[in-house]
Point group: C3
Chain length 159, copies 3
Amino acid sequence: MSKKTIILFSGDYDKVMAAFVIANGAAAMDDEVTMFFTFWGLSALRKPKGTAAPGKTKTMLQKAFSTMLPKGPEKLGLSKMNFAGVGPVMMKKVMKAANVMPLSELIDTAREQGIKLIACTMSMDVMGIRAEELIDDIEYAGVATYLAEADEGNVNLFI
Amino acid sequence: MSKKTIILFSGDYDKVMAAFVIANGAAAMDDEVTMFFTFWGLSALRKPKGTAAPGKTKTMLQKAFSTMLPKGPEKLGLSKMNFAGVGPVMMKKVMKAANVMPLSELIDTAREQGIKLIACTMSMDVMGIRAEELIDDIEYAGVATYLAEADEGNVNLFI
Amino acid sequence: MSKKTIILFSGDYDKVMAAFVIANGAAAMDDEVTMFFTFWGLSALRKPKGTAAPGKTKTMLQKAFSTMLPKGPEKLGLSKMNFAGVGPVMMKKVMKAANVMPLSELIDTAREQGIKLIACTMSMDVMGIRAEELIDDIEYAGVATYLAEADEGNVNLFI
């Protein structure tokens, strides 16, 4: 049993999926896993559209950024061959046919396995994303917390 | 002598090149190196066009994906300044002038140095890529194998 | 006290920023930090436009590449939502409002904290970038130097 950390910087469906496949695989082998969500990666932790809290305290620019960011894992695009959203639809169909879990289930599994999900507070400020917009039962911290976790990890990835 | 692992997720010429430069450098210093090819990174292991096996058992969507994926290292685009394929041509010329090995030679060198190349089977299913389409003498495995290798590595990168 | 290394391959404002936030955070916790700048990441080390040395000894292709590469940290684009340069302007405004240091200050802080900045010489050859075009007091080395540093690191990231 050892510890793994992943910084998830990317908000691309395929990269987020890769991150959760690695994280779930490690947790299944009894590793302790911490995922640190920063910048575009925060999109993976957002609640679906209807449930977002009203944007009262955001500046206009924060509103602009947060409006354009995808709301939740099933809204993410691909890093390549996105084709205005057709790529992800295709990929999800192929994944289903290949019996690969969709991203939203991979995230549920991560939570069930006790993987620690941490939202980067500095990125939340920059992107104009507030805690109420993110899924429940996650932690909030900054770079010092990441570094403390990574110091204990034997595998530390930036995705 | 220590061990290095690289997950090659990207299929961009420049990133694949960076991965093989690091891998070959480590192998030249007597390190054990394992490269794990996943998602777009599988393109780097594909055989050139003519040699691909016929797509009989693929679904239509798998065929669509695998048709659009570049066939072999010399068909890859750049992550930036690709300019519809002009960028890679320019970069290869500059590399030649600077006496830098082209990607296909970097891959040959990796094989000669005994670097372990592993194709991710889950990604192959999703992308619709079959073993016959990939270069010979590579291994096939999933995330558990990657994690076992990474646990032994002192440097583990995601590219 | 331990050692961290970061390969900065990306030249995107947001990714370069993430790299320096992690590097500065680690240095503030008394870690030794080495950053290795390769490919597009070299842009972050370039001097602003007017101060660049004349391109006499470059080939035409090297000139083309180096002309297109951003000159210095404040000229970099975003990896997502760049919108022809509007994205970075927006992000810098939001960062200022959130009291987050702009990239150029993050780089200054890294230097003040004694973070070792190494420019990859092979990438400089390929990109047509010469030492006179990069900021002062950095080091120049190849993959062997990176690997020697990474062997001593307990956290090694590729960004």
